[in-house]
Symmetry: C2
Subunit: 502 residues, 2 copies
């Protein structure tokens, strides 16, 4: 068996090498490429993607996988080797089900739908985007059919982002969330003395913001010898070379401190996960963190649970104040802490707070599932969107730009991705609950800027495993229980109960 | 025939696409990659290089080329199509002559010899490098034998860098140069009132130097929408995406203005050539400028002939002075002009002036030719090197660091590359002579900072043709004559005759 694993691993590592090249092409496009470089870059990326797809589909890969298809063949393998076989087999089988012509059609549709979406969003003109969204829905329904599914085509699509999760399970989890979050939002809305955020939107020199984000990243343990931060319009984390080259980006807004600070912490969290990949899987497709929800749980751990906590700012607020003595003159730690945690029902998902965020996701999940299941037409979306916004958050978008047109995902053909954002919140809260239990002095340490014990705990329990375990297995291994949204709700109630004196 | 060209061109464009990816991997390695990213980058680059080699050697390529091998098959093709066939055929045939195992051996040798050279240079320890240099000579002799040659194995190696040039022809050109340059250097050495360069090595803030190089690049017509400048230890120009993504790098030395200013002009010259590629060949392997000597002629046109001319500094010196009022306080234009043109026999090639530079190259050519022909052993090199330095420049390196160990080329297995540096000087002078003839007001324009007519002339006559014409054909087309070193000698005599009042 060892030789067979080695044979498979050579192919797996080759795919990871190719993916790193593809990531560099993309990173460069988003951070450095001169404006006229786009056409040749598209050719280069298309070429790389074809090679990756070819390799995944190859007969060579099929032959390397064949011995593991015999009954009981994987039972004696280590968790690592079994996961290697599991994921390689899954990708091989799925990729072979989709004909090259369809891959090509999808790539072209993604490109045109993205451009149409960009323009439609600018003009807040849903009708201009609708025909392309309709095609995306159709193509994705076709893909789901080719891949196959038990209950709903939506399940086949989720599988790409959150293997093992099903529409029914997400529905159940999200129903429970809705029931508890909607009243919590209302309660907070009624609370007297809401935080003021005026001090966050004063003039903050972008060079100093940049410096501060570098300090923060160093503070959480991001290794600059194995990565770098750059600027981009949309912040992202990318794995360019195993655990040793994990790059992040952030964005700077002179009139708002939050995008840079929380953006860097968010991407830094993703990056810590990938830099913490264990040696035995580094350079294989199992490296670089688990699937979407678990990955998101780690970005949210650092952005929200740590990065928006009072102990964290006890250490960092004095440093921030020294950098921006004018903007923060007279501002007290507690008021700053309350400001970065202000809860407001708002139109834009990426600007939402910890309490309302999941409701933005529930709305998107319900709509995209209905689209893929054929229970909702594209033309109906704006109406349904606005009705759900009213129901969940009590507000109605004045236009589609602030409503259905705000996110890039559907234009790029991502259906089944949105739920992982909210699931990430739930995983984060449950992991963190147990991290805190095992470190009684955690708050005191965080208040001193000592984040190493937390990072070490997460590295040992979560980061090093990469994709060996799926989120549902990982949470059981780490916390001894399946995912329980109660941890998230209790986290919110305790934190925001204090902030809003509920 | 048209269909056959199209078929070949698809493969050719695919190779160019792959080369762009490889260039990005290298550019990133030299400018952005975090320190720990090297191991995975080596895997990525090796993977890309193998794919490129595979494609060049492929049966597919052989089949696409086959119809053009029939007698008279290329006679009716346009110059462009004939060149496309010519180069594809050459690369295919050469690549197939070298077995994959040898390619692999060479890649490994390059990597180890480079490391050994780096350390040997630091310690000025030629003996530590000698065994690896010996292997490089042996491997390159083997390659030359596999490729085949008429007169000398060195010819087979030159062909990679300067197709059509031969050892005998270079020997003839360089003998003539030696005869004229050695006395000229001696004459200049004896001249009274040599320029003072003290104003060039005062403190020059690197950020301002950076700004100035960007202004210079804009001034010569470098298109920042189709490229960018970054910093690197060794400056270079790289084609990442056809004519629309040509990047350059420069280096900044706080205590010397010259590396940044002339480095940027040099790489900027290479980049103008590549950005000026004609539409009909952009994206093919014919794009991006001709072979080494012609390419170098264009970097030298902008660095030396334009960039070290009095009219050029009439426009730029006042700007430079405004940026560095302290360092240049009281410095007169004419003294600055003389300073950047100071002639001094010196040990390091890359720091050499326009007069002595070619002698550094003649020395290297003679040594590497003798090595490859088996007429000189590696152990003898330092002695021969130092003797030639004494003969050509009248100085003796105090150690091998300032002698035979200074250049990277041989460690990387480049034999046959050096001559193109000096040939570039000759081509540059001859091209420029004719450019000047066709523009009687050129100096007046350059004095006003108006470099567009010169760039346009070069673009029309040289840049747009890419690799369609080899240097020997190009010079005939543009100037009506074969290469004549007399143009270079007259350029030197006139310019330095005035500067040194000879």
């Amino acid at each position: 068996m060892k030789k067979r694993i080695e044979k498979l691993e050579i192919l797996d590592r080759e795919i990871k090498t190719m993916q790193g090249v593809s990531s560099l092409l993309d990173w460069d496009m988003q951070t450095r490429m001169p404006s006229r470089g786009g056409a040749s870059r598209a050719d280069q990326q298309a070429w790389m993607q074809s090679r990756i797809h070819e390799k995944i589909c190859s007969k060579e890969m099929g032959a390397a996988l064949a011995p593991f298809r015999k009954k009981g063949a994987v039972s004696r393998l280590s968790d690592r080797d079994r996961a290697l076989v599991r994921d390689a087999e899954k990708h091989h089988v799925r990729a072979r089900k989709i004909p090259a012509a369809l891959i090509d059609e999808m790539a072209r549709l993604d490109s045109i739908a993205f451009r149409k979406w960009t323009r439609a969003r600018e003009k807040s003109d849903f009708k201009a985007f609708a025909p392309y969204l309709k095609k995306q829905v159709e193509v994705n329904r076709k893909v789901a059919k080719l891949i196959g599914y038990d209950k709903t085509p939506y399940d086949a699509l989720i599988e790409d982002y959150e293997p093992g999760a099903t529409s029914a399970w997400i529905e159940e989890v999200f129903s429970g969330l809705k029931e508890q979050l909607i009243p919590l939002v209302k309660k907070i809305k009624r609370a007297p003395d809401p935080p003021s955020t005026t001090m966050l939107t004063r003039r903050y020199d972008v060079d100093k913001q940049w410096q501060f984000t570098l300090q923060l990243l160093g503070g959480i343990g991001y290794d600059f010898d194995a990565g770098r931060q750059d600027k981009s319009v949309h912040p992202f984390t990318t794995c360019i070379g195993g655990a040793s080259d994990i790059r992040i980006t952030t964005r700077l807004n002179e009139k708002d401190l939050r995008p840079a600070v929380f953006g860097s912490l968010h991407e830094g969290g993703h990056a810590l996960y990938e830099q913490g990949t264990g040696k035995s899987i580094d350079g294989t497709c199992l490296g670089g963190g688990s699937y979407c929800a678990a990955h998101e749980s780690q970005s949210l751990t650092w952005e929200d649970i740590v990065g928006r906590s009072l102990p964290f700012w006890r250490h960092w607020f004095p440093k921030l104040k020294r950098l921006f003595p004018e903007a923060l003159s007279g501002v007290k730690l507690h008021d700053f802490y309350r400001a970065v945690n202000k809860v407001t029902p708002s139109f834009i998902r990426v600007e939402a707070d910890e309490v309302t965020y999941a409701l933005h996701i529930v709305l998107r999940f319900e709509i995209e599932r209905d689209l893929i299941e054929g229970n909702l037409s594209v033309a109906q979306i704006p109406k349904v969107w606005n009705a759900k916004m009213k129901e969940y958050l009590g507000i109605t978008p004045p236009n589609d730009r602030l409503g259905v047109l705000q996110d890039v995902h559907w234009s790029a053909g991502y259906f089944g991705y949105f739920p992982t954002y909210a699931l990430g919140k739930l995983y984060a809260a449950q992991f963190f609950h147990f991290a805190r239990q095992s470190m009684p002095d955690m708050d005191a340490r965080i208040s001193r800027g000592d984040l190493a014990p937390l990072k070490d705990w997460l590295s040992r329990r979560i980061y090093r495993h990469g994709k060996i375990y799926r989120a549902s297995e990982l949470i059981r291994r780490v916390t001894g229980k399946p995912l329980d949204p109660g941890y998230f709700m209790r986290y919110l109630e305790e934190k925001f109960g204090k902030i809003y004196k509920l």
